[in-house]
Amino acid sequence: MSAPVSAVRHTGEFFAFCLDTLRGLGRRPVQVREFVQQAWFISSVSILPAALVSIPFGAVIALQLGSLVRQLGAQSFTGAASVLAVVREAGPIVTALIIAGAGGSAICADLGARKIREELDAMQVLGIDPIHRLVVPRVLASMLVAVLLNGLVSVVGVTGGYAFNVVLQGGTPGAYLASFQALGQLPDLLVGEVKALLFGAAAALVASHQGMTAKGGPKGVGDAVNRSVVITFMLLFALNFVVTAVYFQVVPQKGS
């Protein structure tokens, strides 16, 4: 099979898999136990790295803006810019990277190992659909954790920016806080959460699909994890661009 044909085929299979998962969402019984376990697991592997990544992220934005804004004489807008950058873009992206890197790779490795040990075949023979039993709860858990994690990243990132600006750059606390409302608005936070929701779903879907189609022994699982992380990253940045473009078209911006 030539490369383009195989690429189209894989994409098609992935979309079919997403549709199957979507259909699985409505099926009873809902796998509450598996969902709670997975949500707990994904948050346990992602909270600490997410917090640790978002502190320097907020600080870097403050640092970048600090000198520039001072030259323009617009120090009072540092807080506004920092909030805008963290809440709109950095939050969802950091969340996505952590979910894909920490949660997605674990999901993919887990399902891949089950696949090559024939556990998934055994499950199907026992009359249980692995998509309904395993994939749907993982996708839902990943979406929930991504939304919550996005909140955490936004708070930690803005706090980091604040601390950096006030303590190290000698900014005024009052000006930083007062300018929050200057450029940012509530839809910014909402679109951040929508992005996180989509990224969480995409990361879990790609990871599950790659895991469930792993083949060729333990090496196949390694390859699947590798592919899953790479594909997820590419997909997330593309999705991010689309959502952002739509957002700017739909929601009027402040000050424009």
Binding site: M1, A113, R114, R117, E118, E119, D121, A122, M123, Q124, V125, L126, G127, I128, D129, R133
Partner: protein, 322 residues
């Protein structure tokens, strides 16, 4: 009480390479059948096609009037409840204890209470001799125990058809003998239809009612045990007696030149070893599908090799390994 499985013209290929084509055979209800074949002839693929995990290119698998390859995904899940499958390494769920593994199908498919589930699980674990290991994880027990635990899980929904994927691979001869005895006893107790895919000639010679042999992408022969064990067909004879002389070579089938050279060298096939008695159930009572030894040979006017059906069921190692 056992269900017939009728396979007609089944063909499967992967990426343009045929695995096997035109397989036609009927697994008689309630009987034990063995499917043999050299490595890499797609025996496991056949098992997976039989339970609908893989879709064949052509052909039909009819169970209780339903043709599996034509069923929708949802209907397949229903039909699969008739099946119990023992995968090669047991395919236990690694994150659950043995007890939870065996209880899993009951918890998913029935609304029974935990105490009822406990009763069923304990009964099946007793059947396979695993009482006491309930709370271990699959990683903590031996390969033989994993297989028996996999078997207990396959039995828990009282399947009508039980498939075994190489039950004897990786087991020592003693454990293999125990497992074979367990298979015969289970057939006596449940009356289900059994299909065993294996390499082990001792198993193939003593356990089943019927034997099939896949060779070179097709079914070389399928029929009653005595028919194949007394057959002089070169492939069947070579495989069932584990000989080097014959059409099967080290890599694949031998080419014509090699065969001609063999024929010219005047290599004479050793005589057929005697047909052993079938392994009886351990309580001495007959199975429903059992036939008296030598019946097929008498009915079809075949003279069994001398020494056949004499009062010991296991062939001497020297008779099998040549």
């Amino acid at each position: 009480m056992g269900v017939e499985v009728a396979v007609r013209g089944l063909t499967k290929s992967f990426g343009g390479h045929p695995v096997w084509s035109d397989l036609t055979l009927t697994l008689p209800a309630g009987e034990i059948s063995v499917l043999l074949g050299p490595s890499g002839t797609g025996k496991s693929v056949f098992l997976k096609t039989l339970v609908g995990l893989l879709r064949p290119d052509r052909g039909s698998v009819v169970i209780e009037g339903r043709d599996l390859p034509k069923l929708s995904e949802r209907e397949l899940y229903e039909v699969r409840k008739l099946f119990g499958v023992l995968f090669q390494d047991g395919a236990l769920f690694g994150s659950m204890t043995i007890y939870d593994n065996v209880a899993f199908p009951l918890r998913e498919h029935t609304r029974r209470s935990e105490s009822e589930i406990r009763a069923v699980v304990t009964e099946k674990l007793e059947m396979v001799g695993l009482v006491g290991a309930e709370h271990k994880l699959p990683g903590e027990i031996s390969g033989g125990m994993r297989k028996r635990a996999g078997l207990a899980r396959a039995l828990v929904l009282d399947p009508q058809i039980i498939l075994f994927d190489e039950p004897d691979s990786g087991l020592d001869p003693v454990r293999t003998a125990y497992l074979n005895q367990l298979i015969v006893d289970l057939n006596q107790r449940t009356g289900a239809t059994f299909l065993i895919v294996t390499h082990d000639i001792n198993t193939a010679r003593t356990v089943p009612d019927n034997i099939g042999l896949i060779y070179h992408g097709h079914l070389a022969m399928f029929g009653p045990r005595e028919m194949l064990l007394s057959s002089t067909e070169p492939v069947v004879r070579q495989f069932l007696n584990a000989q080097r002389i014959g059409p099967i070579g080290m890599a694949e089938e031998k080419d014509a030149e090699e065969l001609a050279a063999e024929a010219q060298a005047g290599v004479e096939l050793p005589p057929l070893p005697p047909i052993p008695l079938q392994l009886p159930p351990s309580d001495g009572r007959p199975r429903r599908a059992e036939r008296p030894p030598g019946q097929w040979c008498r009915e079809n006017g075949v003279t069994p090799p001398p020494g056949s059906f004499e009062g010991r069921w296991a062939p001497e190692p020297s008779e099998v390994v040549r």
